[in-house]
């Protein structure tokens, strides 16, 4: 059999994978359209309409949209799980239907579709074999990934005995078994508890630091906002918005001040200045943290100081 067209990579000091032969565009779709048909070939749903997209190396790209907007269809088209009705998809310089593109690709499905009769070790070993990773390296990587996703104590248990969160974690490990350059995450935080969600987001950011390109789809805006560099918003199969997160979220006509230890006098002075500028003060008060941040603060504080937790507030005595 022929030698597979392994991608030419070179590792830099910062362990960033740099490809010599390809441009910075890792994923490119042109006029990508998908229409689902029934058995008789009649059109059922037009799930994606003429999507033009470019995703560049090293960025975290978020696909946003409500249920049924075409996020998962897009991901499946990128992976070659579905064939486009029309248009083109190129991933890592190859058509989506080219199997060899998968050498440098990792995929975490919406739900972890794994063989439930295998245990964690066997699962990762199996996927490692599919990449033809040599035995010694494979064993080392399996250990590394199992420890990374925190399943060391459950490594010999069959996946049928795993909770949803554990299954998601082993699913993530299998997506990283080949140390991929491009990682597609379909609803990565789905089914995870808040700690798991935070860990997942931290991991995504770590992967970005290592130079990986990540595409994730989610309808959880907070998650996307936290980690994505750019987002595309899909609605009814059409791309409605595309851009950098901070640019999209910036309310240009409003200014927000966050000051600590501001006295009432100072506050009045500021209000006066705003009045003199013919501007309108919409809100001035104490900013609130997100519920997620509060939860993590509580957990962190509880772990640091076990026992009944007492904090200030109207119930404090």
């Amino acid at each position: 059999m022929g030698t597979e067209p392994d991608v030419i990579v070179e590792k830099t000091a910062s362990d960033v994978t740099v490809e010599k032969t390809e441009s910075d565009v890792i994923v490119e779709t042109k006029n990508l359209t998908k229409t689902y048909r029934d058995f008789w070939g009649r059109q059922k749903v037009r799930a994606l309409k003429a999507l033009d997209l470019e995703i560049r190396r090293g960025e975290i790209f978020g696909l946003l949209g409500p249920n049924g907007s075409g996020k998962t269809t897009t991901i499946k088209l990128l992976l070659g799980l579905l064939f486009p009705t029309s248009g083109e998809v190129n991933i890592l310089g190859r058509p989506a239907t080219d199997v060899s593109k998968n050498e440098r690709l990792g995929y975490l499905p919406e739900e972890s579709y794994l063989y439930r009769f295998l245990n964690a070790e066997e699962t990762l070993d199996f996927y490692g074999r599919l990449f033809k990773i040599p035995g010694a390296v494979r064993r080392q990587r399996v250990d590394q990934l199992i420890n990374m996703v925190g399943l060391g104590s459950a490594r010999k248990r069959q996946l049928r005995e795993y909770s949803k969160g554990m299954t998601r974690r082993i699913g993530l490990a299998q997506a990283l078994i080949n140390d991929p350059d491009l990682i597609l995450l379909d609803e990565p935080t789905s089914g995870l508890d808040p700690i798991g969600t935070r860990n997942m987001k931290d991991l995504i950011l770590q992967l970005k630091e290592k130079g990986k390109t990540i595409i994730m789809s989610s309808h959880l805006l907070g998650d996307v906002q936290d980690v994505c560099d750019r987002v595309g918003i899909l609605y009814q199969g059409e791309l409605k918005e595309l851009g950098r997160v901070e640019d999209l979220l910036k309310v240009v006509e409003q200014t927000e001040l966050r000051v600590s230890g501001l006295s009432d006098d100072a506050k009045k002075k500021i209000e006066k200045i705003i009045e003199e500028d013919n501007s309108k003060l919409l809100f001035c008060g104490n900013p609130t943290t997100s519920l997620e941040d509060l939860f993590h603060d509580i957990i962190a504080e509880s772990e640091a100081r076990p026992g009944k937790r007492v904090r200030g507030g109207e119930n404090a005595k």
Partner: protein
């Protein structure tokens, strides 16, 4: 053993078989490509359709080029693990239970217990293993689609060919292991069922037939006779000779060693375990021809009116004879002479004394000089195997100066008789020096009773060379099941690549049934079956018409027959792709009848198996490669 379709030598068979195979594959490929192309044109339009078709061919080349046995092995290992975790071992437990209780229903007094037991174990194994193969192969891949685990497979650098071949190899491997376990259990079951001995008491069981002093009689004179005690539903006759030796006569196709033990005044007989119950005879078959009463050579003898034309007959008390010509008969192969075994059909035109058997004579003949020796005159019973031994040295009294030459044509001028005077005159004749020429020898068979007939087919008389190892032959018998299993797995995996689990299972089961009834299927496809094609048969069922009666000459009858002709075309094409599963019963038949399975048959069947597995694998690959792994 009946061999209606003897397996030809591999090198004679492979040429025409390969040509037929290529034609069948080409026809089916062309049909598949045409259907695919039409579907692509309808769905994607002419430009996209042609482009997609080109992509299919180009992808196939890439997939072939980068095929990896490592990934294929990983897929096979997954299939094995899946089978084990899903407790396929239960099949072995079912088999053991069947063996435990099956013994209750097997007649221990059967005339051929070895055949009964081996047939039972082979049939049970065949059904269980094929059912297992059916379930595993047809359900595995659809289950991956259903649970969407296929997503995590096809997003790895795995090619469709590796997935399909991995499944075939994985399920095949687990089936092989189970088959070997069953083979071991079966051998233990058969040998323990056949294992027995008998008891014989001197005073109670033996009756002395002469009062004379045994020392005054020739040593091979029978002085006492009797029967052993009943064991395994039968008794053996025992003969005691004047020289004090004993012999246990054959019963139910086996015998026993017997030893006389004297302890003081007491005489005891020690009878050993059954001998020859299971055999692996290595037959050397010859070519058959028939000589008619006028001395002309014919391919067939007389038709005695039996519908089954497997055997052909010669009349008794005439010059008619059945002639077998054997090749490669050498002293190295048959150092002790020519052991002849035959199963002759006897056709009586009158019953005569029903108790009496029909007389026959066996001759060995030099095919060139015509020197002939009448080595045996025997009684023949219908369908019983008779073993006769032609010794190396033949006394001159048995040599007939009858140069029975067979005329090659009806032209009397070509009839050449070797002059009697040219025949060597010796006291004793040596089989290999006087009867065998360039390894060729003829065995002639004649019926000696007037108005009675002997019938035979080529495999009915053979020279028995050294026997093969019984255990090894028993294991070889499972090759038939193994090959059936591999073909069925390939069909199952192919169907599972585009059908849902239950539909794939039913389709594979359909192939199994149709494959076992391929002859009937082809008869229907060629409109040769009684009752007509599918529509006509249905018409007869509904109208309660007899199969032999012509249907009324109406428009609907003609319409139905027209549809049958169209259906016959499709069925003929399907028939090309249908494996004849019943052909693989040859292995079990060989073992059950006590014959060694020849290497030639194994090679021919193995190539046949591969001729199905390879195209089915390719078809499965093409289907899976062009199927969307995900749904809406």
């Amino acid at each position: 053993m009946i061999l209606e379709h003897p397996i030809p030598p591999f090198f004679e068979w492979i040429g025409p078989a390969a040509l037929n195979w290529l034609l069948a594959v080409a026809a089916l490929t062309a049909l598949a490509l045409l259907i695919s192309f039409i579907m692509l044109l309808v769905r994607r339009g002419s430009q996209q359709g042609v482009k997609a078709m080109g992509a299919v061919i180009s992808d196939a080349w890439q997939d072939l080029r980068y095929f990896s046995w490592k990934r294929c092995g990983a897929m096979a290992l997954l299939a094995i693990r899946e089978s084990i975790r899903k407790k396929v071992v239960v099949v072995c437990v079912v088999f053991l239970v069947l063996l435990m209780f099956g013994g209750w229903f097997l007649d221990p007094g059967s005339k051929d217990p070895a055949r009964l037991c081996t047939s039972f174990v082979y049939q049970t194994t065949t059904y269980l293993v094929l059912l297992l193969a059916l379930f595993l192969s047809a359900l595995s891949l659809p289950n991956d689609f259903k649970t969407k685990t296929i997503y995590t497979i096809v997003t790895k650098p795995v090619r469709a060919s590796e997935i399909i071949l991995g499944r075939i190899l994985g399920v095949g491997a687990i089936g092989t292991v189970i088959l070997l376990m069953m083979a071991a259990c079966s051998y233990f079951f058969v040998s323990s069922t056949l294992k027995h001995t008998h008891v014989l008491n001197d005073n109670e069981d033996l009756t002395y037939v002469t009062d004379e002093d045994p020392s005054s009689l020739p040593p091979d004179t029978v002085v006492a006779k009797g029967y052993t005690r009943l064991a395994n539903g039968h008794k053996h006759m025992v003969e005691k000779y004047a020289n004090g030796t004993l012999r246990v006569l054959e019963e139910n196709k086996h015998t026993h060693a017997i030893e006389q033990v004297t302890e003081g005044d007491m005489i005891r007989y020690k009878i050993g375990p059954a001998q020859g119950a299971m055999q692996a005879k290595v037959p050397v078959y010859g070519k058959i021809k028939f000589r008619n009463a006028d001395g002309f050579e014919r391919e067939r003898g007389i038709n005695v009116g039996e519908e089954w034309e497997y055997r052909s007959y010669v009349a008794g008390a005439t010059d008619e004879a059945i002639i077998w010509t054997f090749e490669n008969v050498t002293p190295a192969k048959f150092a002790n002479g020519l052991p002849v075994e035959m199963t002759i059909s006897v056709f009586r035109t009158h019953m005569g004394n029903i108790e009496e058997t029909i007389m026959g004579a066996l001759y060995v003949r030099n095919p060139v000089t015509g020197l002939t020796a009448e080595t045996h005159v025997f009684n023949s019973e219908k369908y019983t195997t008779k073993a006769l031994h032609i010794p190396v040295e033949i006394d001159k009294s048995k040599v007939k100066n009858r140069p029975w030459l067979v005329k090659k044509t009806n032209d009397k001028a070509s009839f050449e008789a070797t002059p009697v005077a040219d025949l060597p005159q010796k006291e004793t004749y040596n089989v290999f020096e006087d009867f065998v020429v360039d390894g060729k020898v003829e065995i002639w068979l004649q019926c000696l009773d007037s108005q009675q007939y002997f019938g035979a087919a080529a495999p009915d008389l053979y020279l028995r060379s050294a026997d093969a190892n019984v255990f090894f032959n028993f294991v070889k018998g499972y090759l038939g099941v193994w090959q059936q299993m591999l073909i069925l797995i390939s069909f199952g995996v192919l169907f599972s690549s585009f059908l849902s689990g239950p539909v794939a299972m039913v389709s594979t089961f359909g192939i199994l049934v149709a494959g076992f009834c391929k002859t009937l299927f082809l008869d229907i496809a060629h409109l040769q079956a009684l009752g007509g094609g599918p529509i006509e048969s249905f018409n007869r069922l509904v109208t309660h018409e007899n199969m032999m009666v012509d249907l009324p000459n109406t428009f609907s009858t003609h319409l139905g027959q027209a549809f049958d002709h169209i259906a016959a075309g499709f069925l003929s094409i399907i028939g090309l792709a249908l494996p004849s599963f019943s052909d693989f019963n040859y292995y079990a038949d060989c073992v059950a009848n006590g014959y060694n399975i020849p290497l030639n048959a194994i090679i021919v069947h193995l190539v046949t198996t591969l001729s199905f597995v390879c195209p089915l694998f390719v078809a499965g690959y093409v289907v899976l490669r062009n199927r969307e792994a995900a749904k809406q």
